[in-house]
Structures are given as structure tokens and as C-alpha cells.
Amino acid sequence: MTLRPLAAVGLCVCMLSAGSLAEPAATAPGLSIPNTVSAINSPTPMSQRVVHYEIDAKYDPKTHQLDGAETLTYHNLTGQPLDTFPFHLYLNAFQPKATWIRETKRDGTRDTSFEKWEDKNYGSDEIKGFEVVGQGELTSQLQYIQPDDNNKDDKTVIQIKLPKPIPPDGYVQFKIKFHDQFPETLERTGYKRDFLLAGQWFPKVGVWIHGGWNCHQFHGATEFFADFGVYDVNITVPQNEVVGASGVRVADTKNGDGTETYAYHGDDIHDFAWTASPRYMIKDDVYQGTMGPVALHIMMQPAHWSQAQRHDEILQNTLKRFEAWYGPYPYKTLTLVDPEPGSAAEGMEYPTFITGGTAWWMPKGIYLPELVIEHEFGHQYWYGMVATNEFEDAWMDEGINSYTEVKVLDDILGKNTSILNIMRVKMGEREQQRLGYIRDPDFDPMTRKGWLFFDYGSYADVTYGKTASVLVTLESVIGEDTMRKAMHEYFMKYRFTHPVPEDFLKTIEEVSGKDLRWYFNQAVYGTNVMDYEVLKIDSSPTDWWKPNFKESKKPGETEYESEVIVHRKGDFVMPLDILVKFDNGDSVREHWDGQDRWIRYSYDKKAKVASAEVDPDHKNWLDRNFFNNSKTAEPDGTATRKLANYWTFVSEFFGQFLAGWLI
């Protein structure tokens, strides 16, 4: 955990006061956080461990309910006494007046639009008992708080004030009994038919950072921020269930009552998720990582079994590139879940546990399963290990991950074909990210807190698409190799910590040796939009004024005065190259600092300008309009005719269909 001085308090919106500390400090004796390393390929712990969760959970698939007993040991590394502790109770988000529902109904989210409320949507996480070891039963002292929006109906964060504070470097142990009701998956977590994806399912303590507690409510788009530690979780389910979870499975006990208990252990992780379904088919494989072998546990839907190898391949290829480019994957396992179709639990990330998303009919040229798997695996780095605050800096999590997604998928599947390559239709990942960016380029800066975006569209387009486009474009400023070195440096320096935006931006500046504030201020902190256009190209004979002048039809005989005007339409300033081509085959490459609103280039040549193009190497992915980046002297209507031909064909077909069936 990165600890910051108290002076930074004002930067954190939702910090909760540590309260006045009148009582003498107290700590429970004999407590510690385990130094276990059985779930990682490292001889020593890799993170500063703050928490140790021990959870016994019993799940009933008939009622979709879970009874849990949680023992949380917390190590106070804040440097000051603590008497107040906030906890996430995120299953309470699935209630009609909760902030998550309000936001998703208002702004939309990736999966859900609410037309009506149904009982099956309901989810809850009730605290049945709350004891602080050495301080007694404190259930009645619990209070729901709403640090982000003051919505008194939101019960996703609860707070306890201890009678006695926990001293610096002291430990406290909470014994919590809780009861979960899972919703039918609206999004992210819950059940669908006989499938369960249990995410955000247990009371989880907030993060003390920047001199205060950071424990946000469950929001429409953001949900992750927690401290590293050790997890020991026992999951009891009916014997027919196939279970997968974060961490390493350490035991499997048949209980004699038709149930089975699976024990999992996780080191240096900050969350724990699991899944159960009686119908999973399992493919196990091993990836030989740089720190040791990684067991790949792939849990497929029966109808998707033929795609198990496809899942395995993209996972292995992705791991290989992340390890080579950014840093080692230290965990001993990775579980990839192919979730129940229609479950809205596709594309989720938890430590050492991710969900993909495919369909039985998915052809090989449509790379959506690859896209989702690569993206979610990327979160093992940008969220899992580099544990940024998703609520406040979502771009550092989803956005940096979208950038590495571009790099990895381009490398595996081809630059222009990494999303789609079927029946001559192609689409690359970087194009896909840019399409998101140009939809909503100017509503919100990347650094906006996740729940304060204009709407979900702006959140997604800026956080994913713009960030990826900003970082791809940054390569044109500092070079692709330097950018890769910077990413590697950032990962190695900040893994198992909670970095903030400046940590990332300064790392890039340090590695590149360049002052990039001009770029970051516009692209990261600003909402500036870039749009350079070739406004005009023109060539006219130099000797037009001479009597009896006649323009020669033969190339190279008439001298022309030519001009090219490039216009900066947007408010984003960026140096750029301009390639001017002449009809005799000559070309000139100009460089413009892009500062002024326009620039004119003039040429006296025995050739006319044939075309001019801004950013001829296509390195700039922030320009919102690629079509006006170039201009040709002679029109070429081939593309228009081709598209019009498609349009005509479809119109004819529709006309025939109408006339054929109705009369």
C-alpha cells in the first residue's frame, strides 16, 4: 500500500474521519497476518499484507442464499491509532433504491437497463453478528454510511466505531456472521439458472490511504479497491457442483450430508471470487511462467467445449506477452470461467480468477472471446497487482488495460484484424478503441471519478477508448520501445501497491526523459479534442498571366504555384507531419508544431499537388476525424460506389421481400 502524507487529505473525496481517540489504544494479542507463499511462485510475500480473511461459506443453490462466517484480521499500518472501520456490503446494491440501481437506471451500464423491478433482481448482504475480538459484540453499533452521494437508502457501506482504538502497527480481529441473497445476475455477480458467480459477496474492509478511509459505495461502473493480504476460504456446496475460485485449492472434503467443502488459499491478493455450476467442463493446462509454473484452470460451458483449446491458446499467448513486456505473473494459478450465457457475468476480473464470454456459434474470425479473455487477464496486472483505485482513477485500471489489450491482440492476431477477420471484413483493436473515443471525446477528462461521469457511455468511451488512444498516440511522441520500457518500469515499481495518476505519468516522463506535461494536460487532465484537416490543395500555372499562355497537357512542362493549407479545427495542439505528393511522383514531408490555427505550404514546381496528408504514418489515434486528414486533387469515387452498391442491393432485397410476401 502506498502511504501518503496527511497533506493529501483534501484530494480524497470520500475519506472518513478516524474520529477522536479518547480511549486508550488496544490490540488483540497473538494476532498476525500469515507469511504464507503457497499460492505464489515466490519464496517471500510480494505485497505489504494488511488483511487476512478466513471465511466459511455455505451456499444453497435452490434459494441462492449463502451463510458465511468471516474472521478478518487487520494490521494497522496507517501510522496512527484507528477506531473506525468501514466495510463494503456490495450485494446490497441490488435493491431498488440503492445507488447502483439509481445510477444504472439513469446512465445505463454495460448490461442493464431497468424497465421494471422484479423480485429476482433483489440481492442483499446482511450482517447477522459482528464481534471485535477483545472488544465484544458490536452488531448494534453498525451504521450504514453513504460517503459518495448521501443516498440514505444505499446500504453498500457499513461502518463500525470501536470502543477502543487500534494502535499503530497493532492488529484487530473482526468475527462477522453474514447472510447473502444473490440476485439473478443483473450484472457482474449473482446466479443464472444453475450457475453462480459470487463476486463482492462478503464484508470487505475499506482502504486507509492518503490519511483517511477510502470506502466507496457500489457504483454503476466502478467497484474495486482493496488492500492486499491472505485469503483462506472454505466453500460448501452440494456435491454435484463444480467449483472454481481465486487462489489455490488446498482441500476438498465430502461432508457426508450431500455437500462438499472446497478450501482455497490466496496470497497477495485483494479480493476473492468463486463460481459454481453442476455443468462445467474442465480443461487444465500449465503455463511455464518466468517465476514458475502457472496452473490454468479453464471452466467451460458444455455447449462451448469445442472452444476450450481456443480459450487456452489466447490465455497462454497473452500470458507470454505480458511476462515478456511488462513483468512476471507470480501466482500459481489462473482460473478462466466461461460463464452461463445471458448471465451478464461475462468479462469480469478478480485476482487469479477471470470470466470470458463466448457463444456456441462463435466463428474463428470473430475474436470476441479472445478480446474478452485478453482484457480480463490484463486486469491481473492493471488492477490485480498494480492495484489502483478503480472508483477514482478508472482509466488507470480499465484504460491502461485497454492500451495493453491493443498491443497484445495486435501482436497475436494482427494489427488490422485483431477483432474481426471474416469474409473480408476486418477490424483492429486500436480502431475499436478509437471508435469509442470519438463517440464521446469531450464530456469528461480521463481523471474524472468513475461515478461522476456524464453518463455510462462517456465513462466507458473515455476510460477505455480514450485512454487506449492516448497511450497509443503517446508512442508517436516517445517511441514504441520507450513506451514499452515505461510500462515495464511502472509495473515493476508499483506492483502490489496503490499508485495514483502522477505515479504513472511521471514514470513515463522519467523513462522517456521528456517533459510530457503539454501532452498530459490536454489528453489526460483535459477534454481537448484534436482535429487537423487538410483544408485546401491547389495548383495553378505560374505563367497564367502571360499572353497566349496555354497549359501543357504533358506532365513536367508547365510550372505551377501550389499551396497546401492545413487547419487545426480542434483545441488539442500536437506536432505533426504532413506528406505532400505531386503528380510527377515527387513528395515532400513537412513538420508542423501544430500550434497556430492554420499553416500554408507553398511550392513552385513543374508538377501539381496530387494529395496532402496529415499524419501520413497513422500514428495519431486522437484525431477525431480521419477522413479530413487528407485531400486528393482528383476525386476517386470507388469506395462510394462500392458502398452505394451494397446499399442498393440491400434496398432491392427489402423491396422484393415486401412486394413478394404482401402481394
Binding site: A303, R424, L435, F626, A639, R641, L643
Partner: protein
């Protein structure tokens, strides 16, 4: 002499009256081109002088296409769809208008003079509108119910843990709806033929007899032709994809239009079969509505 099969007899009529299909094809192409004109003009303004357009010429870059549609200069998709829909609807109306002349031409053993053709069109236009209204009611209600049942089955199947079940059931349901719709189409084609050939103004009276005439044989002939149309469409699209180079607009146009021509021909084949079937089912000899055994010299043919 052995009577020709329904399909063969229909095909013979189709061969004899190629001009109808050609005219309808040209009409469809012209109207569809007009429907696409808005898109052509707007897209041309963005693409024709931009090097970016090469991404659409050499292959098909979906991102570039999506970006093109997002450009304000191209205009709203809604407006462009509306334009295409308007012209498709016009094609439908013109088909409604000209079809009586086609039926009369199919029933005639000589080349129908243009005045007769248009007289049949004008005289039956309102009748065809009325029969269309009957058709929408009579076919629409059971087909609507079938779609409702399909939706219910989909919802029930969605609870199943067998992922393929909803799709399989949906395909079966759509197949059944297709077969039922084909029956209704054959039935009302019979009614339309009777309206024209018997000069029947009381269109309601054609519905019952047409239903009785709609035999399994006619329905099977319709189904066979429809399946053949599907196969030709698939072949056309496959040829388009596999033999036409991505940058060849002319090649794509030719293959696309040949596919549309064949597709259109299939429906006219069904109509020709309807006329043959009607004539064979009639106990009373059919009297041509407007006999014109001799075409005056110099008369312009339709």
C-alpha cells in the same frame, strides 16, 4: 398427351414472358438506386477526396465504415433508411399496380398488347388493395399468434440449461411460420389470379374458392421454388465473396444484380404456377377479360 407438371408449366410461362421479370427487375434496381442516392451523395462528399477511402476499397475495414456513418456530413442513418424504405414501398405499390397485367399476360397465349396490360392494371388496382387488406387480416392473425407462441417458447426455453435449445426451438418455430406463411401466400395468389382472370369485382367472394383451390401440390411447388430461391441467394453471395475482387465495384454489381434477378424470377415463377393451377382447377373455361386476338399492325407491345 401427358400434362406438364405445375412447375414445368409455370417455368414455360416464365420463359415466354421474360419481359415482365426484366421490367420489374429494372424498376426495382432504379428505385433502390434512388433510395441509395442520399447515401451516395453524402458519403461521396466525405470519401471521394480522402485517402482514407482506400480502407474501404481494398477490403472492408469495418471501423472506417462505422466512422463514416458517424460523420455528421453523412447525415443520420434514420434519414437514409427512410429514403430507402420509401423507395422500397414505392416498388411495393408499383408491383401492386402492375401485377394484374402480369397475371393476365401469364394467362394469355399471346403477347399481351400494352393497352390491355394497363387496362388490367388500372381496373384491378383497387381490387388488389382490398384483397391485400383481407390478406393482412386473414394471414396476419394466425401468423401473429404463431409469433406470439414462438416468443412464449423462447421465454420458456431460456430457462433451460441447454444452450442450444432456445436456438433450435426458434429455428423450428420460424420454419413452421414460414410454411404457414407460404400457404397463405399461395392461397391469396389464387384469389388475385381469380380477381383478374374472372374480372371479379367482389374480391371477398374469391377468398373461399381460392382457399379450396390451394392444394398441397400448389403449396409444395411454392415451397420448392422458395427453397431454390434461398439456395440461389446463398450461391450468389458466395460468388460475390469468393470470385469478385474486393476493389471490383463492377464485378460486385454484376453478381449482386444477377442474384437479385434470379431472386425476383423465383417469385414470378410462383405466380406463373398460380395461374396454371387456377386454370387447371377451373371447371368453367376461363374467358379472357379482354380478348384481342389480333394485334393491329404497328401497335406498340407492352
Amino acid at each position: 398427351m401427358k400434362e406438364k407438371s405445375l412447375l414445368s408449366a409455370g417455368l414455360a410461362i416464365l420463359r415466354r414472358t421474360k419481359r415482365y421479370v426484366i421490367w420489374f427487375f429494372l424498376l426495382n434496381l432504379t428505385l433502390a438506386s434512388m433510395g441509395a442516392a442520399v447515401f451516395r451523395l453524402n458519403a461521396g462528399a466525405v470519401l471521394n477526396n480522402s485517402l482514407e477511402s482506400a480502407k474501404l476499397t481494398q477490403g472492408f475495414d469495418l471501423a472506417t465504415f462505422i466512422e463514416l456513418l458517424a460523420r455528421p456530413e453523412v447525415g443520420s442513418m434514420q434519414a437514409m433508411h427512410a429514403s430507402s424504405f420509401d423507395f422500397a414501398f414505392l416498388f411495393f405499390l408499383l408491383t401492386l399496380f402492375f401485377l394484374p397485367g402480369v397475371f393476365l399476360g401469364y394467362a394469355s397465349d399471346h403477347r399481351l398488347p400494352r393497352p390491355e396490360f394497363f387496362r388490367a392494371c388500372g381496373q384491378n388496382f383497387w381490387r388488389f388493395i382490398r384483397i391485400l387488406i383481407f390478406y393482412l387480416f386473414i394471414a396476419g392473425i394466425p401468423i401473429g399468434i404463431l409469433f406470439g407462441i414462438q416468443k412464449g417458447i423462447d421465454k420458456a426455453a431460456d430457462r433451460s440449461t441447454n444452450e442450444l435449445l432456445p436456438f433450435t426451438l426458434e429455428m423450428i418455430c420460424l420454419g413452421i411460420i414460414f410454411l404457414v406463411a407460404m400457404f397463405f401466400r399461395a392461397w391469396f395468389d389464387q384469389a388475385e389470379v381469380e380477381i383478374v382472370l374472372r374480372d371479379q369485382n367482389a374480391v371477398r367472394r374469391t377468398i373461399g374458392p381460392a382457399r379450396r383451390r390451394t392444394s398441397f401440390g400448389l403449396w409444395a411447388a411454392y415451397l420448392f421454388i422458395a427453397l431454390l430461391a434461398g439456395i440461389f441467394l446463398i450461391i450468389g453471395l458466395w460468388l460475390w465473396h469468393s470470385i469478385v475482387p474486393p476493389s471490383s465495384v463492377l464485378g460486385a454489381f454484376i453478381v449482386g444484380q444477377l442474384t437479385m434477378l434470379v431472386w425476383l424470377k423465383m417469385r414470378f415463377w410462383q405466380r406463373a404456377c398460380a395461374v396454371v393451377h387456377y386454370e387447371r382447377e377451373q371447371e368453367m373455361p376461363v374467358v379472357e377479360a379482354y380478348p384481342s386476338p389480333v394485334t393491329p399492325a404497328g401497335a406498340v407491345q407492352a
